[in-house]
C-alpha cells in the first residue's frame, strides 16, 4: 500500500530508492557556494540575477540590478500553497 504523505510546510519531493542517507549540512556549509566562496555576507554586494515573475496579472522578467537606487526586500519561501 502506498504510504500516506505527512504534509508539512515544505513541498514533498521524491528521491531514489535505496539512496544513502545524506549527511546533515550545517547552515555555514549551505551558505558557502560549491567553490567554497561565501556569497551571502552583510555589507557585501548582493549577487545579481534574472528571474521570471508573476506581477499584477502579467508574467515578467525581474533583474535585481534594475532595482539599484531602491531598497529591496528579497524573500524566499518553501512553496506556493504551503501554510505558513
Amino acid at each position: 500500500m502506498p504510504e500516506e504523505l505527512k504534509v508539512g510546510c515544505a513541498r514533498p519531493t521524491g528521491g531514489l530508492v535505496g539512496e544513502e542517507p545524506k549527511k546533515e549540512e550545517s547552515q555555514e556549509q549551505i551558505i558557502k557556494e560549491k567553490e567554497g566562496r561565501q556569497v551571502v555576507k552583510v555589507g557585501k554586494k548582493a549577487s545579481d540575477f534574472i528571474a521570471p515573475a508573476y506581477y499584477k496579472g502579467k508574467f515578467v522578467n525581474v533583474k535585481l540590478s534594475e532595482y539599484l537606487g531602491k531598497w529591496v526586500l528579497l524573500c524566499f519561501y518553501p512553496g506556493d500553497f504551503t501554510f505558513v
Binding site: 540575477f49 521570471p52 508573476y54 518553501p78 506556493d80
Partner: protein
C-alpha cells in the same frame, strides 16, 4: 521567490492570496525553478528541493544589509523586518553618523558613536529601551 513556476504563482495569487490581500500580491512573485538563485543566497535545501524562509534587506547600492533564514514551519515577523529597514534607512540618511541601539524604532533616541561616547552609553541609553 520560490521554486514554483510563474503559472502556479498566478494560481496561488488569484485563487487564495487575493482573498487575503485586496488586489492580490502587490510585488513580483519570482520563480526560481531548480533553486539556482536560492543556492547563490544559501537558502536552497537540496534534500527537500525547496527554499527555506530567507529574507534579505538590500540597500540602494545593492549591498546586503541584513538577512534572516528560518526553516519552513515558522513564519516571519514582518514588523521586525520593517523596523530593520527603517533603522538602516536612518543610518544611511545620517551617513553613518548615527547608530540605532537595540530596540530602536523611528522617533526613539539614536547613538552618535565617537570618542566622547566610549564608556558612556549607560548614561544615554537604558537597558529597558531594548524591550519597549
Amino acid at each position: 521567490m520560490s521554486i514554483d513556476s510563474i503559472f502556479v504563482h498566478k494560481m496561488w495569487n488569484d485563487y487564495e492570496l487575493s482573498k487575503m490581500v485586496k488586489g492580490g500580491v502587490p510585488f513580483p512573485m519570482l520563480s526560481d525553478a531548480g533553486g539556482k538563485v536560492g543556492t547563490l543566497y544559501g537558502v536552497y535545501d537540496e534534500d527537500a528541493g525547496v527554499e527555506t524562509r530567507g529574507r534579505f534587506i538590500i540597500d540602494p547600492d545593492g549591498v546586503i544589509q541584513g538577512y534572516e533564514i528560518l526553516t519552513p514551519p515558522v513564519g516571519r515577523n514582518v514588523l521586525e523586518t520593517i523596523r530593520q529597514i527603517q533603522a538602516f534607512q536612518h543610518v544611511r540618511k545620517t551617513k553613518g553618523a548615527e547608530a540605532t541601539p537595540s530596540g530602536w524604532k523611528p522617533g526613539k533616541a539614536t547613538l552618535k558613536p565617537g570618542p566622547d561616547l566610549v564608556g558612556k552609553v549607560w548614561e544615554v541609553w537604558k537597558t529597558k529601551e531594548a524591550f519597549e
